[in-house]
Symmetry: D2
Subunit: 284 residues, 4 copies
């Protein structure tokens, strides 16, 4: 059985001695570093660091770690994210009618590829309830055609609180979350079925077909107020030709959507992503 | 020594019996088909066909072929393109200061990958004249800063006529050809350093870096009046990460620019491209 | 509703007039060709052709088609394969303990990507019976540890006959089919978890890790007597690095195994594959 | 003008406190770390570290650095490699008749992509002398057909010494270096025109064509006594189909050979490669 590890992500203004200071602090309490990766964004003047070390030899507890890091954060003007590898967070998946990303994510959870629980699935269509049942998730259907959007979003926000949801994954959820929703709950990953920033907005495969592109793409990104403008986590492409109709683009696209989205969720769960300046640094 | 072959491309309204009619005509004169590929664009109601057959057993000459095809074209409301595999057309390459696409194309010509001659290289900078010399091409430098654009373009058009140029390749030519130029000479392939339609226009790598994309692209396309909107021939991508600065994107981009452009030129020279409805069908 | 189409694959010694003869025969009976692709293997002296045309305007019935083609086959020394696009053949999937390829195939069947039925799933382990139930397939478990191999294979062959199976897909079936089995039933597609011919045989991911490769692959191929030597249909690769342990290779490999296998099965179902000289020509 | 940086690669048995110890040492002398990447190979029990920091604020000189690192190396049982980013080492390129890798490397040197000098080019054919001239390199032709291999190799080894060569790049050099040569000079990168370990040895494209693979590859690796068994640095692949003859494989292969080889040389020059246990860890 592998020992759980502590994962510390740091973002702060760059200055000499940062790696030394952080790793010496870890070393002084007996931590043995498993992974350590650092990046300086010269342009932004920022230092980014991700360090992972074993808990079993580490001599201070969670509370003490937290308290010590607060002091260091103050001194370095740093933002810390502290996580433990044995955390299994609750994730909510939002879907509409298409099932491929949903099934793919749930299958990867069951096979141990994605260390998360999916207690709830939320949809604006009743179609995929059967899949929720198969995977022991509660399915909440909101009729977004007849109900007021703000009412629906408030009910969803309540559910996210009730089920202690840490991340929302939009697995082909063909609805736009309002600014007010995102102000309340901002940890949201979306899969967009194009190679962003090409074909923002609706019907990207139809527009890609019309434009005659020779590659189509899929983009997993964090959701922000500006539609399809959020920080990009992962992008995949696949070749297409004149022999492919729009339906073929949609079919081929499903495979890269599944892969881009599941990779992005995995990177998020492993705390390998930094978000800053409207983009990501992915430490893989 | 391989026998030259005849390449017939046909575009006409779809109807039953087209493949039979064309191939029977070829067969009746003793032609042995080497390659034959047909596509029906159901949406456009168009039939596209490319047939390649040996000349050595074919019983009628170029003039007769031409005359017979005109009759068939009239009957089928078809557009024919007729080429011979032993044609070695004259191509003009337009460049600015970057040499990578130019050298790559010339190297492929010398190695026999691209069956074309490059008698002239045209530039708005004097920098690359030395390369022209190495490859026995005449180098024409036009000072686009001090000269009037229409004057320059008229001189270039004269050169294209004088040297019997069949295709212009914009190998990182950082100038926009005017509508009037394109009205006079329309067979132009450009390499754009992005995955079109993303990052149309100038400084695509800078904008890609700022947007934080995880893949960058290059697009070879025919040039039309609408900048970066011409029919796409070939697209390539390469992975990038947060560790790549703009300079790294530019460096990585050079490799995919060279490959996308040289593939597009090769497909053009082999008469494998159909252009219609602002896009291409590439028979490879 | 799309009209069904007739798909004719032809393999015969190359000679002039073949495309004309075939397409004229189709045209004479009112067939309108939707797709038509021809290839001459100069090395082997063979002509390969795949023609697809609509049934709705075709004036002769299946029996007459068959009878006429027999005459032409005799004349051309040709082998014909005749199929109809509305056929939905019965496929048997063989598995051991890993579920990813099985679930992926069944999901694609349910979503209409693969036009086939899966009445039976055969395994040397009881583990995946629950999945069979979910997708209404009968699950047959054979204890290959205690039972004699020839006994098991004979029972399997009986099942294949009973359920009118047209194709067997080995979706991570960690058993070798005997020569005698393959003599009785030869239409078998396997997924091998390496980039063949590298890492033939067992534990390819372990060996790839040990060798320190920078890409791993998956290969879908027809099964022949010689293990991992059958005609290759489809190959995919994915990047790996020193940070990937064997378990990561296995995880990353699952994604390319699923894609390579499902593409191969789809190409087979669409009658796009020719097998000759121990390799394939894939008309896509 | 960018300040030069110091690059320290460390390999030693893993134990707690290593990152801290190294980075504190750097920090104590005023070094500001630009890049820092660490990896623990759990299987081998080894710690690998690459740290890059600015020279301008670093308070001790090369001699002192060297002396201090020797003490640390003794304590940690570590192997250090110390380099400076402004070093421009002398590289020898070995070729036979094919010019594509040679030209590509020289072009990248001229464009500043590869920070190295190429004072000598060595060949067993006279063909490529003209290229050497273009790029101001001395060309040494050895007639390996009439001369004894050990005689030739000894002369080559003398040249490597005379020109202070740090790395040999086999850019399609169709000769095998003897064990005795490699014992004398071991820093050699080769490009093999297959996806190793598939198609080791001669004529890989012919064998790939015969096997009917759907992807071909190129592998850049360090050379060891066992032919094509050396540590792999970089691998690339490209799609092929039944329409590709052996000549097409060779043509397509040239593009991936150039890219795999130039990437490998660049990684080597940037000191991003660790070699151990017959494989590489590439920190990119």
């Amino acid at each position: 059985m592998e020992q759980p590890s502590i994962i510390l992500r740091t973002v702060c203004p760059d200055r000499p001695g940062l790696v030394s200071q952080l790793t010496t602090w870890i070393s002084n309490y007996g931590g043995n570093i498993k992974h350590s990766d650092h990046h300086t964004d010269q342009d932004a003047g920022l230092f980014l660091s991700r360090i992972e070390w074993n808990t079993n030899t580490f001599k201070i507890n969670k509370l003490e770690i937290h308290s010590e890091l607060q002091k260091i954060a103050f001194e370095l003007n740093a933002q810390f994210s502290l996580n433990y590898s044995d955390e299994v967070p609750n994730i909510a998946i939002f879907v509409s009618k298409q099932n491929h990303c949903l099934i793919d994510l749930l299958w990867r959870v069951r096979n141990g590829e994605l260390k998360m629980k999916v207690p709830i699935i939320i949809s604006n269509h009743p179609d995929l309830e059967i899949i929720a049942k198969d995977f022991n998730a509660e399915y909440f259907y909101f009729d977004t055609f007849s109900l007021d959007k703000s009412v629906v979003e408030n009910q969803i926000l309540s559910l996210l609180k009730k089920f202690d949801i840490k991340l929302v994954v939009l697995a082909k959820y063909m609805q736009i979350l309002s600014d007010s929703f995102l102000a309340d709950f901002s940890s949201v990953i979306n899969i967009h079925h194009s190679f962003l920033p090409a074909f923002k907005g609706s019907q990207p495969y139809h527009r890609a077909w019309k434009r005659g592109v020779k590659l189509i793409g899929a983009t997993a990104h964090y959701v922000t107020k500006d539609l399809d403008e959020g920080p990009i986590i992962e992008q995949c492409t696949v070749n297409v030709s004149h022999r492919d109709e729009v339906d073929d683009l949609i079919r081929k696209g499903r495979d890269i959507e599944r892969i881009a989205l599941s990779r992005a969720v995995r990177l998020h769960l492993n705390h390998q992503i930094f978000v800053y300046n409207s983009k990501t640094a992915v430490f893989d």
